[in-house]
């Protein structure tokens, strides 16, 4: 007669509960990829940037630096520097705000684009993102309405995402068959499509068509996988199939599915547990021991490994090896107690803030964003507890928010420092302005632009007269003027001695010299007139520039103090906003840190509760084994006593 263990159904129930949780987490991650909050990709071809500042926004965007990208874009929009990409820029901004979870702001942007009658490609993208926002907010009918309004102008890269969104909306509305139809249209080779196929299987099963769902999952579970992500998804599909088969009392099928799961997979522990249960269902406890013994050696922080610690003695008991069963139960109880103490230590470390601080220290980032992931685990007592905590989607999202708040706090601190610098700069400019103004005014007073203009006009009149009169002498250069003067002196002297015949040769030489000089002046006349006119034009331009500078200076003297005042007012207005925002962010950071720690502690507390339940059941099983042994001894003693009495009888 076999001992019936009351813990068996309880074990199995937990087995399925944990499996359900794993499946749920798997689907969550899968859909997380499909519906990730990656911001709207710009639709315009990459190399048609018609505003360099829009290109600058893209430069940051393509590096996933969304905070820098969206703030510089808004700055450029303020200065109207992205006019050629106005609608695209709005789509981009809406997408980035959406990626930060700012649904209301993003929704307003997309709605405005539609209202203003944007071109069809922009309008389709706006409807697409509106559908996404509405779906995320839980407005399913409105989301369906928005997605139905999309025409045929979406860029190809959004085509798949649109189908996935459509499927998710339909699934959320309970239309699983419709969802399956939408997902069937997705190309099976892309990463998103792989997850879609997984979801398609789940959708079919949920719609009541388990065979079709199983067929899809089975196809996924058999497919070749070229990367770890895909292999992990394949393992998850096989685990799902295996547990579905177990629940339908098809242990042989379950074994076949679970055998496909890799031993070192993330899902291996669940598979090993299920594999053992399949053997147990086939009344082959010796076969169940193989996976369970392997699993029992693994880290007890995993719930499946924890459960294996009591599944193994259960199998021994089923085989009738009660001594080994008892020993294993006692080992399990000791291990559970040890693990319980370790969990307490981990909880204490988390409560002290060590986990969050160490995570931040080891995973620095330079931007606020949703696509950041924990890469490096901190050093903590019992680090094995962290892996299960960090793997939780809820923890990761909460931690990302905490990290974002720290980024914002640093950003605001930087701006506060900068504002102080701006104020100093403004004060220095005011001071420099006050010091230089008298000097500039004096210099300005020394230069009489009106007098210069009058002088230029006088010269221009002389040039005009000389030109009209063809007066070469008017354009003589300094040397020629000197020669003319000396010649005039000579001629005057000769004229005073007109009767002297000996001076006749000199008179002739003077006449010749005067002729040569007149000839030269006549020859140079056209070029000199040209040069003079050109110089007059240049002088006019310079005088005009001087007048402009003079006017600008006068304007600056009037405007600059007002400009300084405006800047001072803006700085004075922004500083209090920072002063309000900084403590607000700090308070939220503290709250969020507590929330992050609460999530981590809750996960470990749950593990402690599991431990308590398993411990109780193990102790109960030990008691049963002792009872059985006691009952066996009593029965043996009774039999022996009866035999003795019979022997004593005559």
């Amino acid at each position: 007669m076999r001992l019936r263990f009351p813990l068996r159904p309880a074990l199995r129930r937990r087995l399925f509960d944990t499996a359900a949780a794993v499946l749920a987490l798997g689907a969550l991650c899968a859909l997380g990829m499909l519906n990730s909050a990656r911001a709207a990709e710009p639709a315009a071809p990459a190399h048609e940037v018609r505003d360099p500042h829009y290109g600058d926004t893209l430069f940051h965007f393509f590096q996933d630096h969304y905070f820098t990208s969206v703030t510089t874009l808004m700055n450029s929009q303020h200065f109207d520097r992205v006019a050629h990409h106005a609608d695209e820029a709005e789509v981009l901004r809406g997408g980035m705000l959406l990626s930060y979870g700012l649904h209301r702001e993003a929704g307003e942007i997309f709605a405005q684009l539609i209202d203003k009658g944007a071109v069809p490609p922009v309008r389709d993208r706006a409807w697409f993102y509106l559908a996404k926002i509405r779906y995320q907010r839980g407005y399913l009918d409105e989301a369906q309405d928005a997605i139905a309004r999309i025409e045929n102008h979406l860029p190809p890269e959004l085509g798949e995402e649109r189908a996935l969104l459509q499927a998710n909306i339909l699934m959320a509305r309970g239309d699983y068959a419709g969802a399956a139809g939408a997902l069937a249209a997705v190309d099976g080779k892309t990463p998103g499509a792989r997850y879609a196929r997984y979801n398609l299987g789940i959708a079919w099963i949920k719609s009541g068509d388990a065979p079709r769902g199983a067929a899809v999952l089975d196809e996924l579970g058999r497919a070749g996988a070229e990367d770890e992500e895909y292999r992990s998804l394949r393992d998850r599909a096989n685990v799902a199939l295996g547990f579905a088969a177990l629940t339908e009392n098809r242990p042989k099928d379950a074994r076949a599915y679970l055998e496909r799961v890799r031993l070192k997979s993330l899902h291996a522990n669940k598979a090993l547990l299920g594999f053992g249960w399949a053997a147990a269902s086939l009344k082959e406890p010796q076969l169940a021991l193989v996976p369970w013994l392997e699993l029992a050696q693994r880290d007890v922080s995993d719930s499946a490994a924890l459960e294996a610690r009591i599944a193994v003695p259960y199998a021994y008991a089923e085989l009738g090896a009660y001594g080994q069963s008892l020993g294993r139960y006692q080992d399990a109880i000791a291990a559970f107690e040890h693990e319980n103490v370790s969990l307490d230590e981990s909880i204490k470390a988390i409560r002290s803030g060590a986990l969050v601080d160490a995570l931040i220290e080891r995973n620095p980032g330079d931007e606020m964003g949703w696509f950041w992931s924990i890469r490096d685990l901190p050093e903590m007592p019992h680090a094995n507890h962290l892996s299960q905590v960090l793997a939780q989607h809820e923890f990761q999202e909460a931690f990302k928010n905490y990290r974002d708040l720290r980024f914002l706090a640093k950003n605001l601190d930087d701006w506060r420092d900068k504002l102080v610098v701006f104020q100093d700069m403004l004060d220095n400019r005011r001071k420099a302005y006050a010091e230089r103004l008298p000097q500039v005014r004096r210099q300005r007073g020394e230069i009489d632009v009106d007098a210069l203009r009058k002088r230029r006009e006088a010269v221009a009149a002389d040039v005009a007269r000389g030109e009209t009169e063809a007066d070469g002498v008017a354009f003589a250069d300094a040397k020629q003027t000197d020669l003319l003067r000396r010649l005039a002196d000579v001629q005057a002297t000769l004229k005073g001695n007109a009767a002297d015949p000996e001076l006749a040769p000199l008179r002739e030489r003077a006449r010749l010299a005067a002729g040569v000089l007149s000839w030269q002046l006549a020859q140079d006349f056209p070029a000199r007139v040209w040069d003079a006119k050109k110089a007059l034009v240049a002088i006019a331009a310079q005088i005009e520039q001087a007048q402009r500078l003079d006017a600008a200076l006068a304007q600056a003297q009037r405007d600059e103090p007002a400009r300084f005042e405006r800047f001072a007012k803006r700085i004075a207005a922004l500083a209090p906003l920072l002063d309000v925002m900084i403590p607000r962010v700090a308070a939220l950071s503290k709250e969020q840190q507590d929330a992050v720690q609460d999530i981590a502690v809750a996960a470990l507390t749950q593990q402690k509760e599991r431990l308590a339940v398993y411990s109780t059941q193990a102790r109960f099983a030990v008691a049963q084994l002792y009872d059985r042994a006691t009952a066996g001894v009593a029965a043996s003693a009774s039999t022996a006593s009866q035999e003795g009495e019979h022997a004593a009888k005559p």
Partner: protein
């Protein structure tokens, strides 16, 4: 397997399916839905959730950053003296960009070493604003040196130069790296935006 056990298994499957249904919501939706109103009446209460308040503060900080950036630019780089230099890359198969050095009026204003992520962003159509500064009105000269790997993995260094007039409006100058497919060589030119 006994009947009660089978029933339990089925219940477990239903539980699994229900959990999976919950998981069908995207991650950010779960976070957002915590703050999202399921009806108008519940909006004020849900808006006060921690997650909702964090989203609000993110939005407020983004707007504040915009105002501060505008102030910074108007104060430090007023339009009448502002000059902005950009770097872009068209295709970029002929040239693997490592660094850019820029001299303005014979004065080094930027020496930039690129990360692979930045080069990838340029390849995808991003345009990097590499320098923002101030210049007086009048004629200026810009000289840029591009360093990297050219065809056949050879070290490659080329320059591009331009003389331009700075007026009273902001000046935007784009340094462009292009592929000259005919020559199978990279080309470097300068575009002065009007």
């Amino acid at each position: 397997m006994s009947f009660p056990l089978l029933l339990q298994c089925r219940l477990a499957l239903i539980a699994a399916a229900l959990l999976a249904a919950g998981a069908l919501l995207p991650p950010q939706a779960r976070a957002a839905d915590a703050a999202a109103p399921s009806s108008a009446a519940s909006a004020p209460m849900t808006a006060a959730t921690l997650d909702g308040r964090i989203q609000d503060v993110k939005g407020d900080v983004i707007k504040l950053n915009r105002d501060l950036l505008v102030l910074e630019e108007e104060l430090l780089f007023p339009a009448n003296t502002q000059v902005a230099l950009f770097v872009s890359m068209d295709v970029g198969k002929m040239f693997e960009l490592d660094s850019v050095q820029i001299r303005l009026d014979d004065k080094m204003v930027s020496s930039y070493l690129y990360t692979p992520a930045e080069v990838a962003a340029l390849h995808r159509g991003g345009v990097q604003r590499i320098y923002l500064g101030n210049l007086r009105t009048g004629e200026h000269e810009l000289v840029a040196f591009f360093t990297g790997k050219g065809p056949h993995e050879r070290d490659y260094k080329r320059g591009a130069t331009v003389k331009f007039d700075k007026g009273s409006d902001p000046k935007y100058i784009e340094l462009r790296i292009k592929d000259a497919m005919g020559k199978l060589q990279p080309e470097f030119d300068v575009k002065v935006w009007q």
